[in-house]
Symmetry: C2
Subunit: 189 residues, 2 copies
DNA sequence: CGAAAATTTGACATGACTCAACTGGAGTGG
DNA sequence: CCACTCCAGTTGAGTCATGTCAAATTTTCG
């Protein structure tokens, strides 16, 4: 058992042989700070599960980088589009701090779905929850001010937001680091 | 066979008895323009598939409405969070024009997943694709100007954007109708 | 310790918003 | 089918939230 299978077991009940099959396709890896797990042009061959640490995904547009998401303990990351279609990625994925990850290769996962139909359920539910979170994020960007979004962020990642550079939080929220700095300043309240 | 089962059959292969079971839980309905299929406080008891027409979902925040999404031919809509957890919704869903929909009740779908494991796969894939689309939408709001987002919108819904009120397009894009009007004006180019 | 990066601060610029007035077309009732 | 209303859309003036640029300060880390 590891943190990934425990997460799955919380949603769907797996038999011993299924657990074994699942574990046989999971690979573990330590990622150094600033090390890349994916770069544009590469196909995202594995889906990444963060055991402990913090990864981010971002892309370049007109020479500027834009962060799409962070992944902290017990969450997944990668370039979903590239992973699903096995096409070249447009995203970077790198580590903001030393991070332990588990990975499942696309080719193995495809086979595993046949062997363990309950995995389809697990990932269906995982995707559903991720979709709800993304819908809420879209609502927040439309309805909340920059300051409110920052407050939501710190509330959502209470254990992480101080270890993520402020300029990255600003970037993720869609504002400039200078502006984040001013709204964080107490006498702007 | 109907448009919904055809859509599913395009992704997963269903046996005759599975098709039959699926069809037995699908109900059809015509929705008038401006008619509601969901209101805040109600539990979203069914997932909605648009056969032909156009629905929108939106919510109220500080007395203002904010559109979350549109659903046109062959797409799904509802309040996903409310549907999945069977909790009170925060969204309205109504019709922008006379629309034909098919619906599957939550209680029936839960049973159907047991009976037809391939449905899990279908919805997994559906959710994955929706998630990719939402990620791209988030990227666009961060990286593109209001005008570019409007151009993306018209490109994405070439057959629908002229039948959606401009103020609703503006609202969906997160800009004011006045501003959309000015950026549409040729001499602002 | 020292260099490089992150954050802060401030002056100024601008994309997008607000409000209000005007125009035109769609829907409705007579 | 006309007349009336009433939204939707446009236009413009003034404003505000947030961006840009640049310099000062603090933090990080080799």
């Amino acid at each position: 058992m590891n943190q990934l299978t425990e997460n799955i077991a919380r949603i769907v009940r797996l038999e011993d042989h299924e657990l074994k099959a699942l574990n046989s396709v999971i690979t573990s890896r330590e990622v150094d700070k600033k090390e890349f797990l994916l770069r544009p042009g590469q196909v995202c061959k594995a889906t990444i599960f963060v055991v402990k640490g913090c990864l981010r995904s971002y892309y370049l547009k007109d020479g500027e980088y834009q962060i799409l998401e962070f992944a902290v303990d017990n969450w997944w990351i990668g370039d979903l589009k590239s992973f699903l279609r096995q096409t070249p990625s447009e995203l970077f994925v790198d580590a903001l701090e030393p991070t332990q990850v588990l990975r499942i290769k696309y080719s193995k996962l495809e086979l595993l779905y046949e062997e363990i139909p309950k995995l389809e359920r697990f990932f269906r539910i995982l995707m559903e929850n991720a979709l709800v979170a993304h819908q809420e994020r879209i609502m927040h960007t439309h309805t909340l001010s920059a300051r409110q979004r920052y407050e939501m962020f710190t509330a959502k990642y209470p254990n992480f937001y101080h270890s993520i550079p402020q300029k990255d939080i600003a970037n993720y929220l869609g504002i400039t680091p200078e502006y984040l700095s001013t709204i964080r300043n107490p006498n702007s309240h």
